[in-house]
């Protein structure tokens, strides 16, 4: 037991750091902790604005029908079953094209990132492809592949390959050399090196690419579905334009919005699960 004891008043212990101290400042640099579903706030606000604007007659119903008219035609399309058919057709095209793009983009990135031959053959070509707009290839693809499904899926696949490739390749090239050395000292095999170091290290880049690719898939869909399609959301919009059905056009746009937002949320969730080792602003 010591002869002298010190006690610290609780008020001193609990005193907050002074304004401008490093602690307070570093905290304020970060955005505040996310609230669940906070990303829905913006879209919901937009919806409310639309209701108010058309309800009070600010926008003419001929140019922009109100939410009630759009909801009514949405209900009608659900009832008749055409909506389900169109969504299914669009989803199938997007998913198929995206899957091909993911596999191709990742495989090309690994080949170019890890071998000199692959780098020589692939990287330059992808950089050239990158500067050619995907949609400018449509005329050529129609001549080569016809106007059927193959052409549509090929356009989507090609468009999604590029972002996957670029981001995965950048992540592969950025792998810390210290980890390569570590692999050598623990005598990792080539396969073990790929599995334990290369793939996990390239995953953050891959996910960045995946989010861009998903957006790219939906964008390409809009265009390819205006060419000789008999189903799909793009087809639905094209038909509605011809007959001047503004409400149906809006239903189509709404669907694209919901599908795009939903698929991005899905990718984000997947990313959070796979990259849970990272401590980032997202967590």
């Amino acid at each position: 037991m010591s002869l002298i004891s010190f006690t610290t008043p609780a008020s001193v212990l609990q005193r907050r750091p002074a304004r401008g101290s490093t602690d307070a400042r570093s905290r304020s640099l970060l955005p505040k902790a996310p609230v669940p579903l906070q990303r829905l706030v913006g879209p919901i606000l937009l919806l409310v604005l639309w209701c108010v604007a058309s309800g009070t007659g600010w926008i003419s119903p001929a140019k922009m029908p109100g939410p009630d008219a759009v909801a009514a035609s949405l209900a009608g399309m659900i009832g008749s079953g055409t909506l389900a058919t169109d969504i299914a057709a669009s989803l199938q095209r997007a998913a198929l094209g995206l899957s091909i793009g993911i596999v191709a983009g990742f495989a090309l990135a690994v080949a170019a990132g890890l071998t000199r031959l692959g780098d020589a053959l692939i990287d330059g070509n992808i950089q050239v492809k990158r500067s050619i707009p995907n949609l400018a290839l449509i005329p050529l693809f129609i001549i080569w592949l016809g106007i059927g499904e193959t052409m549509k899926i090929a356009i989507i696949a090609l468009g999604t390959t590029v972002p996957i490739y670029i981001n995965t390749h950048a992540a592969l090239r950025g792998i810390d050399r210290r980890f390569v050395e570590l692999g050598q000292t623990v005598s990792l095999s080539r396969a073990g090196f790929l599995r334990h170091i290369v793939f996990p290290a390239s995953l953050p880049g891959f996910f960045t690419g995946l989010r861009l690719a998903v957006t790219q898939a939906w964008t390409a869909l809009v265009v390819v579905e205006t060419i000789n399609a008999t189903s799909g959301i793009g087809f639905m919009i094209t038909q509605a334009r011809i007959y001047g059905q503004t409400d149906v056009v809006l239903v189509g746009l709404l669907l694209y919005g919901v599908l795009g937002f939903g698929s991005d949320a899905l990718v984000r969730a997947l990313e959070r699960r796979s990259l849970s080792w990272r401590q980032s602003l997202d967590q």
Partner: protein, 244 residues
């Protein structure tokens, strides 16, 4: 790294063959000579500390022995099972603690052995934690467990505790001492900390200008404060720091 049967200048002083034999090690970077004929022998279970000023070539020697430098010339004879402890813990941030310990190790009972190694470094409870959630000292202990699980005949350490705070460093030194007594690997320990070398090593080798200029047993002086102090001053002087 083919083993060579060349006789080496310094014998291990034991009947069994030494764990490490280095002869005539040379290395230059863009015309600048970094290693200029290094000879070094480490006996089985012997702890050798490599001391030297920055740029004297001590880390280059260690990297060569670790097999990380393909351009080094000379003869290096090392055991098959060896592991490296780096200055940074070098844990894969995307792998759990136990997966880091098991990295690259192949044995049917590897998971059990990794668990045992983690218990030995007092991190048995952190098996499934992410490396980033651990403190610096804990991360270096995981790295130590990763080295041990391979049951190395040679442990190569490149200033492993220099980034840790003073108290953690002392704990780590004690831990390493205990583990070395238990597992008895040969150790080549690069450091610039004279106290650390005196505390841990059986022998201290001093590098200067790409050579080993002094090779001094320590174990005999330990337990005799006066001799240890004399040794400390002598080593400091050889490193260019005169005592007070």
């Amino acid at each position: 790294m083919a083993p060579v049967a060349r006789p080496v200048s310094r014998a291990a002083g034991r009947s069994e063959p030494p764990a490490v034999r280095i002869a005539g090690l040379r290395r230059s970077f863009e015309g600048r000579t970094v290693l200029d004929g290094v000879d070094l022998t480490i006996g089985r279970g012997e702890f050798v500390a490599l001391l030297g000023r920055s740029g004297s070539g001590k880390s280059t020697i260690l990297r060569a022995v670790a097999g990380l430098d393909p351009d080094v010339e000379g003869a290096i004879e090392v055991p098959e099972r060896r592991s490296v402890l780096f200055q940074d813990s070098r844990l894969l941030p995307w792998a759990s603690v136990i997966d880091n310990v098991m990295l690259g190790a192949h044995a049917p009972d590897i998971r059990e052995r990794a668990r045992a190694a983690l218990r030995e470094v007092e991190l048995g409870a952190k098996e499934t934690a992410w490396p980033k959630t651990l403190s610096g000292g804990e991360q270096q202990r995981v790295a130590l467990a990763r080295s041990l699980v391979r049951d190395p005949e040679l442990l190569l350490a490149d200033e492993p505790f220099s980034a840790l705070d003073a108290l953690t460093r002392l704990r780590m030194q004690r831990l390493l001492q205990r583990l070395c007594q238990r597992h008895a690997p040969a150790v080549l320990f690069v450091t610039h900390d004279v106290e650390e070398a005196l505390r841990l090593a059986d022998r201290i080798a001093i590098t200067a200008e790409g050579r080993i200029v002094h090779d001094q047993p320590v174990a005999a002086a330990r337990g005799n404060p006066e001799r240890l102090e004399a040794l400390r001053l002598d080593i400091l002087e050889r490193l260019g720091v005169s005592g007070d």
